[in-house]
Symmetry: C2
């Protein structure tokens, strides 16, 4: 059935390990490669108890490109102690990315309930600045991912692409860019303009796809596979590419419903949905 | 217990009937008045099978001010037939508001999955323009309520206060203003500036309060009572009042958890939370 489908070129297809989270990373690497997937973004939980270097070697041996490590960030904290711990954790992530061979870490920047969002953004900027020397030493880039406003309470105080672009400009480092995830930004009336701006300042470091289902029954784990929802995927991709981005289209889906499926069939659906809708 | 609490002045406290939705409107009016609530916003479902005129008279007899009727809108539609039906439904809402004695209708403006949000906004503007003559004839105002971006798929293509202000300016009618609901807009980095703008153009017609819980477990019906979450209620109220608003603070809470409580105790909690946190 897979082979009967007229697939588009899959050379830009990347899958996040979280998308098929029940698979051990070795299994994921094997299955992705066999299905024609070309890139993989590794979530840190998938590395638990493993040597990142050995995992990286195995992934490359299967012909997959390691696109990024997910995820760093969470720089906001009520106390200086918490914020220092977050910076230390990010340094560990940088070392992991280096050992794995991932050139980029995606940042979920952080927020803590009840703290002013502007204060959290200040802490985020300070946190990123603090780890930039480590990034430079290890040759690892960082992608600020603006998160949907429904995550402003506890996950990120950066909720629009405009804010992510602003922070890139404030940090003014060639190592800091943006991850554009359609799930978080599709609703934004400024999206086309801010993607263009992000391109002009050379900051589109990653592009993530999935879909928004109606109704959405869970704030975290009810994302749709591409084509199952209302996000104008082709239109947004055209904006991103017009802005100069030529990297992978990364499939990042958190879904209790899809995680409960047979994951081999699900991977076939991912490849098919990528071909039809991205 | 209620009387032992040092309540602040409740003269600006309004409660939406949906907040205590298991109560028939007659019961709600009696209980609200007895608890010291001064205003009521009536949801249309609460009028089912009743004469709006008689309901309005009864509410006023209890000493409550009718603040608004919730809700009109839903102007976006795939077909002209659907959009005409929405306009007709809004005309019925206007007649209901007139009979009830509500001076204002709150608009959840509408969106339909897969239709461009900019197209939905065009349809919303056309829909509001179409009913303005009815509003003028009946002396009913309209409040555009920007909805949280998590409702952009199917409830509203107006997702920021800036967009609501823009639409007010485009419609340029003294009958059209904005309902600011903290749940929808608290995260917006432009909030303070857009509240000030809304005040400058004389368009803050309503102010709704509740809270954002962490974690939020349902996209629709897991709002918090004021003080249960992370929204800076006092700060936002100060912005709204600095912008010239002097109307009611309307408690609008959708919560499966709170609806399951004893509603008499819940109403006491509402009054207490209003005193402490709004």
């Amino acid at each position: 059935m897979l082979s009967a489908f007229p697939f588009q070129n899959l050379s830009k297809l990347c899958v996040h390990t979280i998308t098929t989270k029940s698979w051990a990373i070795e299994v994921a690497a094997d299955k992705y490669a066999k299905a024609g997937v070309k890139g993989i973004t590794v979530w840190r939980d998938a590395l638990a108890g493993r040597s990142p270097g050995q995992v990286g070697a195995r992934i490359r041996d299967r012909g997959l490109e390691i696109v990024s490590l997910c995820r760093g960030g969470f720089f906001a904290g009520y106390t200086a102690t918490e914020r220092r711990a977050a910076i230390d954790e990010n340094r560990r992530a940088i070392a992991e990315a280096k050992a794995l061979g991932a050139p980029l870490i995606v940042l979920v920047c952080g927020a803590v309930p009840g703290q002013k969002l502007s204060e959290s953004r200040k802490q985020i900027q300070e946190g990123i600045a603090a780890i930039l020397p480590d990034c430079a030493a290890m040759e690892i880039k960082l992608a600020i991912e603006p998160l949907h406003p429904m995550y402003a309470d506890s996950r990120s105080a950066i909720n629009t692409l405009a804010q992510a672009n602003d922070m890139c400009e404030a940090l003014a480092s060639p190592l800091v860019g943006v991850a554009v995830d359609v799930y978080h930004v599709w609703w934004d009336p400024a999206l086309e303009a801010e993607i263009a701006r992000c391109g002009r300042i050379g900051k589109i470091f990653a592009y993530h796809v999935c879909d928004w289902r109606t109704p959405t029954i869970d704030l975290l784990n009810d994302r749709g596979l591409m084509g199952e929802g209302c996000i104008p995927l082709r239109r947004i991709r055209s904006w991103v590419e017009a802005a100069g981005f030529s990297g992978f289209n990364e499939v990042e889906v958190f879904s209790n419903r899809l995680w409960a499926m047979n994951q081999d069939e699900y991977l076939q659906q991912i490849v098919r949905a990528y071909s039809e809708f991205v």
